[in-house]
């Protein structure tokens, strides 16, 4: 209700009763406040804008929505790529962990074999690696350049 200051109380009571009879709750307020409230409730985005300003506003909102959609698409792609990289590194880390655990188990076994002489462990390790070391030595010697002299062939040592 937006009664005037001069509205007769009897007239106001008649209208209040009418509003209540229609199932509504009468609220009294100044006319300008009513119109602002009605405009806000009916057209929130366009409140206070004339037709000349609505179109640019709608265009701007469209651009903002498109930009947000593109940003979301990029975020989704980046999230997917990030997940793939993370999964790769996790798999690599898991492989390294398994290798290290196997090595640890091997060293523990070696120490058990050494019993009261843990100082023998390095020697046993070398012993285990001996065939491999010999093979590498042989290959190294074979690939070393030689020089033929009057007294015979001399292998150059770098």
């Amino acid at each position: 209700m937006t009664p005037q200051a001069a509205t007769a109380p009897a007239a106001r009571r008649r209208v209040v009763a009418l509003i209540r009879a229609a199932g509504a709750v009468p609220v009294v307020m100044p006319a300008d406040e009513h119109d602002r409230a009605a405009a806000f409730l009916s057209h929130p985005p366009a409140r206070g804008l004339g037709p000349g300003r609505r179109r640019p506003m709608i265009e701007r909102q469209k651009v903002e929505i498109d930009a947000e959609a593109e940003a979301e698409r990029i975020r989704r792609v980046a999230r997917g790529e990030g997940d793939a990289v993370l999964a790769k590194y996790l798999a690599e880390a898991e492989g390294i962990r398994k290798v290290l655990e196997a090595k640890t188990a091997g060293y523990e076994g070696l120490l058990r074999v050494c019993g009261a002489r843990p100082d023998l462990a390095p020697a046993l390790l070398l012993l285990e690696k001996l065939p491999e070391l010999v093979a590498e030595q042989v290959e190294a010697i074979q690939s070393t350049p030689t020089v033929t002299t009057a007294t015979g062939r001399i292998r150059c040592v770098r």
Binding site: M1, T2, Q4, A6, T7, A8, A10, A11, R12, R13, R14, V15, A17, L18, A21, A22, G23, A31, D32, H34, D35, A38, S42
Partner: protein, 109 residues
């Protein structure tokens, strides 16, 4: 309080609905609109009677509800002011500033 007769000017979606609900609440409601609309309103039992002019509505009713288009509603207070009756006037438009200003300008109270 004795329920006054209500005249609803304009029996469209809002005016017709209001007339019907007030009739069901026990008000005697008179309608004012074009003849085909009035016939439909009578058939739907939204109104108990008809008034052919705004002046007749003001003389017959204790409350006149303006439920025509906003442009028409703005013109009606001037005609109501000429009747000099004691009917209370209200409207169902969503814009109040202009019609209140017009009522004040006409000295309606």
């Amino acid at each position: 309080m004795k329920r006054p007769v209500v005249a609803v000017v304009g029996l469209g979606l809002i005016g017709g609905s209001l007339a019907r609900v007030l009739g069901r609440a026990g008000y005697r409601v008179l309608g004012s609109d074009r003849a085909p609309v009035l016939r439909a309103a009578r058939k739907a039992r939204a109104i108990a009677g008809e008034v052919t002019t705004l002046e007749e509505a003001a003389r017959s009713a204790g409350v006149v509800v303006l439920a025509a288009s906003p442009e028409t509603n703005r013109r009606l207070p001037r005609r109501l002011a000429r009747t000099g009756t004691g009917a209370a006037m209200t409207d169902v438009g969503s814009v109040k500033v202009s019609i209140v200003a017009e009522a004040e300008r006409l000295g309606l109270s």
